[in-house]
C-alpha cells in the first residue's frame, strides 16, 4: 500500500470526487478473517496467492525462513503425542490486524514515524512503505512475527516483472512490510461502489487473495461488524469483551496478551484451541480470555 493509498483509506479525495468509504451509513467496518483449522490441509495455496497478489519478493534460496518474506505463513502444529494418537494441524498466519485497546495495536503504537496506522474505518493495520525508515521496532513489538523486513532489494526473475500487480507498489530494501488484507482490492471495490452508485462494499466485492485461493474453503473473510457477513456468524465476536469469540470452538492467537486481533481460528479439537494461547498448567483452555 502506498502512502497515497493510505490517504484514500483515511477518507481523502481522489480526482476531486469524494470516495465512498467504510464509514457509510454510520457503520464502521471491521474487516477480519475466520480460518477453519479443521479444513486447512496445509497446501500453501494461500501463501502462493498472497505472494502473487501483493508482489512479495523472493530470493533464489528461500530456505531460511528467518529472512524470507511470507505475509501469509502456514505453521505445522502437532499434539506431540506418539502414533496412533498423533494429530497434526496446519495454521495459516496472516497479520492479525490487532486493534489492541482503542486502536493501540502493538506495532502501531510503537512506530516512531507513524509509518503504520490503524484504520478505525476498516480495522486494517496499514504499512506506509515510503515513510518507514526501517527501525524494526514494530517487528520487535509483534508477537506473531507477521512483520517482515526487506533485507535485500527485490529482484525478479527475467520477465516476471511483467506479471507484477500494477495495483501494489513493490517495496524497497530497508523497509518493513506485512499483510494488509489485500487493501488494494478494497480500494477497487470502493471505486466500483462509487461508480455503481451503491452505498457500501458488499461481502463478495472485497475478498482477499488467500481467501479466494484456499481450495478447502478454510478461510472466510468479511466485516466482523456486519451480522450478515459469514465471518461475524462464524466467530460471533463479543464487542463488550474486546471481540472475544462467543463460538466455543473459535479462538484468537495470544488473546490473553490483549492484542485484540481480527483473525479468528476455529477448531473442534481442544488441543488446537489450547495451542492458540499460553496457559498455566492448572488453567482451562479459553479461561484466560478477555
Amino acid at each position: 500500500m502506498t502512502s497515497a493509498q493510505t490517504h484514500t483509506e483515511n477518507g481523502a479525495q481522489t480526482d476531486g470526487k469524494p470516495v465512498a468509504h467504510g464509514a457509510d451509513n454510520g457503520h464502521l467496518h471491521k474487516y477480519g478473517m475466520v480460518i477453519d483449522l479443521d479444513k486447512c490441509t496445509g497446501c500453501g495455496a494461500c501463501m502462493v496467492a498472497c505472494m502473487s497478489e501483493n508482489n512479495v519478493p523472493f530470493r533464489d534460496d528461500e530456505t531460511d525462513k528467518l529472512t524470507s518474506i511470507t505475509w501469509m505463513r502456514v505453521y505445522k502444529l502437532t499434539n506431540g503425542k506418539p502414533y496412533p494418537d498423533n494429530d497434526v494441524c496446519y495454521l495459516p498466519r496472516p497479520c492479525q490486524h490487532c486493534e489492541g485497546h482503542a486502536g493501540h495495536s502493538p506495532c502501531v503504537s510503537v512506530c516512531p514515524a507513524t509509518a503504520t496506522d490503524y484504520s478505525t474505518e476498516t480495522g486494517i493495520v496499514s504499512q506506509i512503505y515510503t515513510r518507514c525508515f526501517g527501525c524494526r521496532y514494530c517487528m520487535a513489538a509483534c508477537p506473531y512475527h507477521a512483520r517482515y523486513f526487506n533485507w535485500w532489494d527485490p529482484v525478479w526473475p527475467d520477465g516476471m516483472e511483467k506479471y507484477l500487480s500494477p495495483n501494489v507498489s513493490p517495496r524497497m530494501r530497508g523497509v518493513v512490510e506485512k499483510c494488509n488484507f489485500c487493501f488494494q482490492r478494497y480500494q477497487l471495490a470502493k471505486d466500483k461502489v462509487y461508480v455503481d452508485g451503491e452505498s457500501t462494499v458488499s461481502e463478495e466485492a472485497y475478498q482477499t487473495a488467500c481467501t479466494q485461493a484456499c481450495p478447502a474453503g478454510a478461510i472466510t473473510f468479511g466485516d466482523l461488524n456486519n451480522p450478515e457477513h459469514l465471518v461475524h456468524q462464524l466467530a460471533q465476536p463479543d464487542d463488550h469483551h474486546h471481540g472475544h469469540p462467543r463460538n466455543p470452538n473459535a479462538f484468537r492467537l495470544l488473546e490473553r496478551l490483549g492484542t485484540n486481533t481480527k483473525v479468528y481460528y476455529v477448531s473442534s479439537r481442544e488441543w488446537v484451541r489450547r495451542a492458540g494461547d499460553n496457559y498455566l498448567p492448572d488453567e482451562q483452555t479459553g479461561g484466560g480470555g478477555h
Binding site: 516512531p112 524494526r136 513489538a141 512483520r147 523497509v175 495470544l254 499460553n278 496457559y279 498455566l280
Partner: protein, 435 residues
C-alpha cells in the same frame, strides 16, 4: 613536536609513541568504518539480524553506551545542582565519556536503520505514542547539551586559551554550566527512561512487558535509575584504566571515594527495587498472560536462570554492597572489582531487555531463536570503542581533563620543562613563516 599544545605542568609520552598508538586504534576504527560503509551501501543483509531479531547487537550496544554514559548527567547533577563540589575534579572526564557514549549511540542508530537517508522522518513524522520518538528527541537534545559542556573543555587547550575570545567564551560557558547540567539531567531522565519504556511497553512480548504508572512502564524508571547508579561506575572504571595506562594518579582518593559511595547507594537502592519488580513480574504479570516464569529461562541453550543471577546478584547486589561498605570501598582491589561488576551488570540488563526479549518464543508453536552477529556487526560495534579511545587519547593529551593531575604528579624541574615547552612552541610557531 606538539608540546606547545600540551597543558602546562604535565608530562605526556613522546609524539612518536602517541602517534603509534593512534595508528593502532585508527586501524581498528577504519575496519569499523569499512563495515559501516558496507551496511550503508549494501544494506542490513550484511548483518546476521533476521525477522525474529529485528533488534540485535547494535541496539544492545546503543542502550549499553547510553547507560554507561549516564555518569555524565548524574555527575553534573551532583556537582552543579546538589553542590558536591569535589566532583569538579572528575566532571570533565565524565563529560568527555558522555560525549563519546552519546555520539556513539547516534552513530549506531544511523547504521542500524534500514533507510538511513530517512532518519529524519522520526522527527518529521513523529508518533507521540512511541517511546522511540521520545528517545530520538531527548537523545539529540542531550547530545547538544553534552557538546556545549565539552566545548569549554576544548577551549581550555593551552593555545586556544590564548585567544581572548575563546578564553572569555570558555569562562562564561563555565559560569552558566549549571543551567546545562540541569537541562542535561532533565533530558536524561526522559531518554534513559524512554529507552526502558521501549521494552516495557511491548505488551505483545510478555518477557519485556511491565506494569505501568500512568503511561510509563516500570522499566522507564528502572532504566533512569540504573543509568544514574551505574554510569558513575563507568566513569570510575575509565579513570582507573586511564591511570593504569598513563602510570599516573589522576584523581584524588576522596573524589573517587565520594563518587563510588554515591554510586553504591544508588546501585543498592536500585537493585532492591529491581528485585521487587522482577518478583512482581514473575509472580503476577507474566502468569496473568499465561506464562510461568520458567518459560523464559528454560528449553534453550543460552538463556538459563544463570542470567538472572548474574544480572541481579553478581552485577547488582555485589557491587552495591562493596561500594556502600566503607572498608571495602576504600580497598582499591575491591572497589575496582565492584565498579567493573557494576558496568557488567548494567550492560547485561540491557542485553536481557533487548536480545532475550527477541529470543523468547511467544506463540506456543514457536521456538527459541538464537542469533550471533556477523563480523560487520562486531566491527561496527567496536568502531565506537576505537573512536572513544582515540578521542580520549587526544583529549587527555591536549586538554586539562584531570585538573588534579599536575598536583598529583609534580614534574621534576618543572620550570625547565615549561621553558622547554615554551621554546618548542615558539619554534613551532615560527616554522610556517619560514616555510
Amino acid at each position: 613536536m606538539d608540546s606547545a599544545l600540551i597543558p602546562k605542568g604535565v608530562k605526556r609520552c613522546p609524539t612518536w609513541q602517541f602517534l603509534a598508538w593512534l595508528s593502532v586504534f585508527g586501524a581498528v576504527l577504519l575496519w569499523g568504518v569499512y563495515a559501516m560503509l558496507l551496511c550503508w551501501f549494501k544494506g542490513l543483509n550484511q548483518t546476521n539480524m533476521n525477522d525474529y531479531y529485528g533488534f540485535a547487537l547494535w541496539i544492545w550496544a546503543d542502550l549499553a553506551v547510553i547507560a554507561l554514559g549516564g555518569g555524565a548527567f548524574f555527575s553534573g547533577l551532583l556537582k552543579y545542582i546538589f553542590g558536591k563540589d569535589e566532583l569538579k575534579n572528575i566532571i570533565n572526564f565524565a563529560v568527555l565519556l558522555g560525549f563519546i557514549c552519546y555520539s556513539s549511540a547516534l552513530l549506531i542508530l544511523a547504521i542500524d536503520i534500514g533507510q538511513p537517508l530517512r532518519g529524519w522522518f522520526i522527527f518529521w513524522h513523529a508518533n507521540v505514542h512511541s517511546m522511540l520518538t521520545e528517545v530520538a528527541f531527548c537523545l539529540s537534545c542531550y547530545f547538544a547539551v553534552l557538546t556545549i559542556e565539552y566545548i569549554p573543555l576544548i577551549l581550555e587547550n593551552r593555545q586556544l586559551d590564548k585567544v581572548p575570545f575563546f578564553h572569555n567564551l570558555s569562562h562564561n560557558m563555565h559560569e552558566t554550566m549549571a543551567i546545562f547540567a540541569a537541562t542535561g539531567a532533565f533530558l536524561s531522565f526522559f531518554h534513559q527512561g524512554s529507552l526502558g519504556g521501549v521494552a516495557g511497553v511491548l505488551f505483545g512480548r510478555p518477557f519485556a512487558f511491565r506494569e505501568h504508572i500512568l503511561i510509563w512502564p516500570y522499566t522507564f524508571f528502572l532504566f533512569t535509575w540504573s543509568a544514574a547508579a551505574f554510569g558513575p561506575c563507568f566513569t570510575l572504571s575509565m579513570t582507573w584504566i586511564t591511570e593504569k595506562v598513563t602510570g599516573k594518579k589522576l584523581v584524588k582518593d576522596n573524589v573517587i571515594d565520594l563518587l563510588a559511595k554515591i554510586s553504591g547507594w544508588m546501585i543498592t537502592s536500585y537493585i532492591i527495587v529491581k528485585i521487587v519488580e522482577t518478583l512482581y513480574w514473575a509472580t503476577v504479570t507474566a502468569p496473568s498472560k499465561g506464562f510461568d516464569v520458567s518459560h523464559f529461562y528454560t528449553n534453550n541453550g543460552l538463556y538459563g536462570w544463570w542470567i538472572l543471577f548474574a544480572e541481579l546478584i553478581v552485577g547488582g547486589v555485589v557491587p552495591g554492597l562493596i561500594l556502600i561498605i566503607p572498608s571495602l570501598r576504600r580497598n582499591s582491589a575491591a572497589r575496582v572489582t565492584a565498579i567493573l561488576l557494576g558496568c557488567f551488570g548494567v550492560c547485561l540488563n540491557r542485553w536481557v531487555m533487548v536480545l532475550q526479549v527477541m529470543a523468547v518464543p511467544v506463540m506456543t508453536f514457536d521456538n527459541w531463536a538464537l542469533y550471533y552477529p556477523s563480523w560487520q556487526e562486531v566491527a561496527t560495534t567496536i568502531l565506537p570503542v576505537a573512536y572513544g579511545i582515540i578521542l580520549t587519547m587526544i583529549s587527555y593529551r591536549y586538554l586539562p581533563i584531570f585538573p588534579q593531575e599536575a598536583e598529583l604528579n609534580p614534574l621534576e624541574g618543572a620550570e625547565e620543562v615549561e621553558a622547554e615547552q615554551e621554546a618548542t612552541a615558539a619554534e613551532g610557531a615560527a616554522e610556517p613563516a619560514t616555510a
